[in-house]
C-alpha cells in the first residue's frame, strides 16, 4: 500500500482554505460598499423629500426634489443617481420621493458586478397652510 508523505499537507490545506476564505472576504468588502451607498441614498431621499415638502405646488416641489438629486455628490463607485418616483399628494398633505443609485462593486465577482439601491422618504407638506 502506498503511503502519503505528510510534509506538504499544510500547504494543500492552506490553498484549499484560501479558495473558500478569499471570496468570502471580498464579498464582505462589496457588501460594505453597498451598505454605505444605501445610507447615502437614504439621506438623499430624505433631503429631496424635505425640500419638496417646503413647496406649495407639484411642479415646484418636483423641481426642488430634482435639484437635490442633481446637487448630490455620491461616492466614487456610484454610476448614476435618479429620482425614480415622485408623488405630491395635496389631499393627504404628504410628499413621497424615491431615489435610486446604481453602483459598481469594488471587487467584481461572477454575476455581481453592479447593483442598485433604492430609498423612499415620505414627508408632510409644510409649504402650504393647514386646512381649517
Amino acid at each position: 500500500m502506498r503511503q502519503h508523505h505528510p510534509n506538504a499537507q499544510s500547504f494543500i490545506e492552506v490553498a484549499a482554505g484560501c479558495v473558500v476564505m478569499v471570496p468570502i472576504a471580498l464579498l464582505v468588502v462589496d457588501v460594505v460598499f453597498v451598505l454605505n451607498t444605501s445610507r447615502v441614498n437614504s439621506d438623499l431621499a430624505l433631503s429631496a423629500a424635505r425640500l419638496a415638502a417646503n413647496r406649495t405646488d407639484d411642479t415646484d416641489a418636483r423641481v426642488a426634489a430634482q435639484q437635490a438629486v442633481s446637487d448630490c455628490k455620491p461616492p466614487y463607485n456610484v454610476l448614476s443617481v435618479e429620482l425614480t418616483k415622485f408623488n405630491f399628494d395635496s389631499l393627504s398633505k404628504l410628499v413621497t420621493v424615491t431615489t435610486s443609485m446604481e453602483l459598481m462593486v469594488p471587487v467584481p465577482l461572477p454575476g455581481f458586478t453592479k447593483t442598485a439601491v433604492t430609498a423612499t422618504s415620505v414627508q408632510p407638506i409644510v409649504g402650504m397652510p393647514a386646512s381649517r
Binding site: 439621506d43 430624505l46 433631503s47 424635505r50 425640500l51 417646503n54 423641481v63 426642488a64 435639484q67 437635490a68 446637487d71
Partner: protein
C-alpha cells in the same frame, strides 16, 4: 536520531504567539475601529438632527447643544462611552444655500480614536499602534431656513 514525537508541542508555542500578534489582536483592533466608527456616525447624526432644528446662532454656539452638550452626553452614556478617544471630538457647523430660500446645514465631526490594544510592532500605523483620526460629515435640510 531524534524522535519526531513532541515536535507539535514545540511548534505550538511560537505558532500561537505569531497567530495572536499578527492576526488575532490586529483583527480585534479592526473590529473595535469599526465599532468606534459606527458610534461616531451616531453622534454626527444626532448633531446633524439637532443643528437642522436650531437657529444658526444656537447651532454654532461653542457651548450649545451641537458643539458641547451632545458630544459630552455621547462620551458619557451608552455605547459612545466605550469609544477610546484621545481628545474630545471637534465639530464644525456650516451652511450651504439650496434652491430658493432653503438651506442645508453641514456638520463635520473629527474624532481621534486610540487603538483598542496597542500593538507596537510597527509604530505609527493608525488603529494598530497609533490613534486613527477621521472626520464624519453629514448634510441635511434646515427645518426653518428663516431662523
Amino acid at each position: 536520531m531524534r524522535s519526531n514525537e513532541g515536535s507539535s508541542l514545540a511548534e505550538f508555542g511560537p505558532a500561537l504567539g505569531i497567530l495572536l500578534l499578527s492576526v488575532f489582536f490586529p483583527l480585534l483592533d479592526m473590529i473595535m475601529l469599526g465599532f468606534s466608527y459606527c458610534q461616531c456616525m451616531t453622534l454626527n447624526s444626532l448633531q446633524l438632527q439637532k443643528a437642522a432644528e436650531l437657529p444658526t446662532a444656537a447651532a454654532q454656539a461653542p457651548n450649545g447643544p451641537v458643539l458641547q452638550a451632545l458630544p459630552d452626553a455621547w462620551q458619557h452614556t451608552g455605547l459612545g462611552a466605550f469609544v477610546k478617544l484621545t481628545e474630545p471630538p471637534t465639530t464644525a457647523v456650516a451652511y450651504q444655500d439650496a434652491r430658493g430660500s432653503d438651506r442645508y446645514v453641514i456638520v463635520s465631526t473629527t474624532f481621534s480614536v486610540s487603538p483598542f490594544l496597542n500593538i507596537p510592532i510597527i509604530p505609527g500605523i493608525p488603529a494598530l499602534s497609533a490613534p486613527a483620526t477621521f472626520t464624519i460629515s453629514g448634510k441635511r435640510v434646515v427645518e426653518d431656513p428663516t431662523s
